[in-house]
């Protein structure tokens, strides 16, 4: 069980500064590569060469087509569960640091079990609707 008091201490904002440095380095690296590679190496074009490679077939139409709605449903379901997981993190951190076996712990546990039960309902509904079948 956690005993370290600094676990709950706030982080000074300046500790994020190295992330900013790394971000600048990464962006610089990525864009330098993307830009420089246009200037090194040959640049030729032609009618056949510019075509997309679709296993050797001449492409028919563009790829900007309608696609299966299941990806959309999947993304929406993902949102439900992802938000739930993110909400659980602060709870988990707090729950382990209060006295979990005491009265407050019971309230904490009961509330989150109710919260997870709502997600289970959503899951069962989705399952009954057949959105996890992917066939």
């Amino acid at each position: 069980m956690p005993t370290d008091p600094c676990i709950l201490a706030a982080t000074p904002l300046e500790n994020y500064f190295p992330v900013f440095v790394l971000l600048m380095m990464a962006i610089g690296f990525a864009f330098a590569n993307v830009v420089l590679t246009r200037f090194i190496g040959p640049m030729r074009s032609g009618r056949t060469k510019d075509e997309t490679y679709e296993s050797g077939m001449t492409p028919i139409g563009t790829a900007r087509k309608r696609f299966n709605v299941r990806f959309y449903i999947l993304a929406m379901t993902f949102l439900v569960f992802d938000v739930e997981v993110i909400f659980l993190y602060p709870w988990a951190t707090t729950f382990a640091n209060i006295d979990p076996s005491g009265e407050q712990g019971a309230v904490f546990l009961g509330r989150v079990l109710f919260f997870m039960a709502t997600t289970v309902i959503a899951y069962v509904y989705g399952y009954r609707k057949g959105i996890f079948r992917f066939d």
Partner: protein, 456 residues
């Protein structure tokens, strides 16, 4: 004026100073390790397939004098990755017709940037005691005890999860912008797979957060070290298994690499990419592997700790201890990556709908049950490592027992098109043509007398 500005800036917090140094060193170490990892992967795959793998390309660079010097010595093919990298730089940067030019260029950058900053919260080397740095009478860096990691922040796991989720954008944009149907499908598949496996990953990390009561990476590692504490993989084997599976899927590694299934999708979302833009996708994939493995090592394999070695405990804060811890940590990461490669070259790729089914029908329910069980264990105060291990194993056993009784969608079921030749409306008899009775009846040995065929 200048003094006032300098007074505001200095002395720097030692954590920031060490953090920047660690970040830059680790970034270069990671990018420099990737060619070696590619070499490892090719060698491992070669030995698994009873081949030799790259063993010719050395470092003679085609120069006659070096060729003479290294005669008969190929450096075990170590030059292969360097040659590949050079080739990436010199190749033509191709953009297909009809591609969205801006997004097509943006996608590799969007893939590689999150990969390169995601590991900032990995505690490579534990605590380090630093003295103050004084230059010209001004204290540049204050003295203190710091953590050898790029960003010592208390919301470390949230940061890692958030940045890991950003990796989806590069893949999706790359697939969409190419104007290639195969790329588009590959990008869709990759994004669907990555977001699906994010949920069980978050839930299995939650198990560890419940045990440790913190999302600060350093304290997670420290709680796996000491008397009565064990690595979390022993306390939570099921969570470790879930987590490793999810990391494989997040990195688009086999057996979940349907985004680039060659047999179906050419090259997946990077079919149309060439030169350095392709190399950036490749770099992002391998950096994800390193970051994911480091994450796994930090959560479940004790981070920088080696049992029985006093130098790798948090109490040691010298420079030597930090070096030893870094070596231990990186060795564990490389071993984990080698295990990923073994998995890739031994387990065949599973079908795409099975990938998503595994996430939504198996991993998410199992990890939710695991989270609930763990929180009940915490409530009951049963948090010794063997107690949670028994809980994990009992849960696994219970799942195996009830598995056959769970509802399950049928595989490859027939979707009838009502009114067609194959699925006639009720009471309708269909006269089949003579052209191809095998295809019409689904019957391997068709009746010679064609005519009215009963259609199921």
């Amino acid at each position: 004026m200048l003094d006032a500005v300098l007074d505001r800036i200095f002395p720097l917090s030692p954590q920031v100073f060490v953090g920047i140094i660690t970040g830059v060193v680790a970034l270069n170490a990671i990018v420099g390790t990737i060619p070696l990892l590619i070499y490892f992967e090719r060698k491992i795959s070669a030995y698994i397939q009873d081949r030799l793998g790259p063993n010719r390309v050395g470092f003679d660079l085609g120069l006659p004098i070096l060729q003479k010097l290294f005669r008969g010595f190929g450096f075990w093919g170590l030059g292969q990755s360097a040659a590949d990298g050079l080739k990436f730089v010199l190749k033509e940067d191709f953009t297909p017709r009809g591609a969205d030019k801006f997004l097509f260029s943006l996608a590799p950058a969007a893939a590689v940037v999150p990969a390169m900053i995601g590991w900032a919260v990995i505690p490579w080397g534990g605590a380090l005691e630093v003295g103050s740095i004084v230059l010209g009478g001004r204290e540049l860096v204050a003295a203190g005890t710091v953590q050898v990691m790029a960003a010592n922040i208390n919301a470390g796991f949230m940061y890692l999860l958030a940045i890991a989720a950003l990796g989806v954008y590069g893949v999706t944009l790359g697939g969409w912008a190419s104007n290639n149907k195969f790329s588009f499908l590959g990008g869709l598949r990759a994004s669907a797979g990555m977001i699906s496996y994010e949920i069980p990953m978050g839930l299995s990390i939650l198990v560890i957060v419940l045990m440790a009561g913190s999302v600060r990476p350093t304290s997670i590692v420290e709680q796996q070290i000491g008397d009565g504490a064990v690595w979390f993989i022993l306390a939570h084997p099921l969570a470790a298994l879930l987590m490793y599976t999810c990391i494989l899927a997040e990195c688009n590694r086999a057996p979940f690499d349907n985004a680039e299934a060659e047999q179906e999708l050419v090259g997946g979302f990077h079919t149309e990419y060439s030169a350095m833009r392709f190399a950036l996708f490749f770099l992002a994939e391998y950096t994800h592997m390193i970051a994911g493995s480091a994450f796994f090592v930090m959560l479940f394999l004790g981070g920088y700790h080696l049992p029985g070695v006093a130098l790798t405990t948090p109490e040691e804060t010298g420079l030597l201890a930090v070096l030893a811890k870094f070596v231990v940590f990186f060795t564990k990461v490389v071993l984990s990556i080698c295990f990923m490669m073994l998995v890739r070259w031994t387990i065949p790729r599973i079908r795409y709908d099975q990938v998503l089914k595994l996430a939504w029908q198996t991993l998410i329910p199992v990890s939710m049950v695991l989270v609930v069980s763990t929180s009940v264990m915490v409530y009951l105060g049963r948090t010794l490592w063997w107690q949670t291990a028994v809980m994990n194993l009992a849960l696994s056993l219970a799942l195996m027992v009830i598995w056959p009784y769970l509802p399950r969608a049928d595989v490859n079921r027939r979707v009838p098109l009502a009114g067609s030749r194959f699925s006639p409306l009720p009471g309708e008899a269909v006269r089949t043509g003579v052209s191809n009775p095998v295809a019409l009846t689904d019957n391997p040995m068709p009746d010679k007398n064609q005519g009215l065929v009963s259609v199921h």
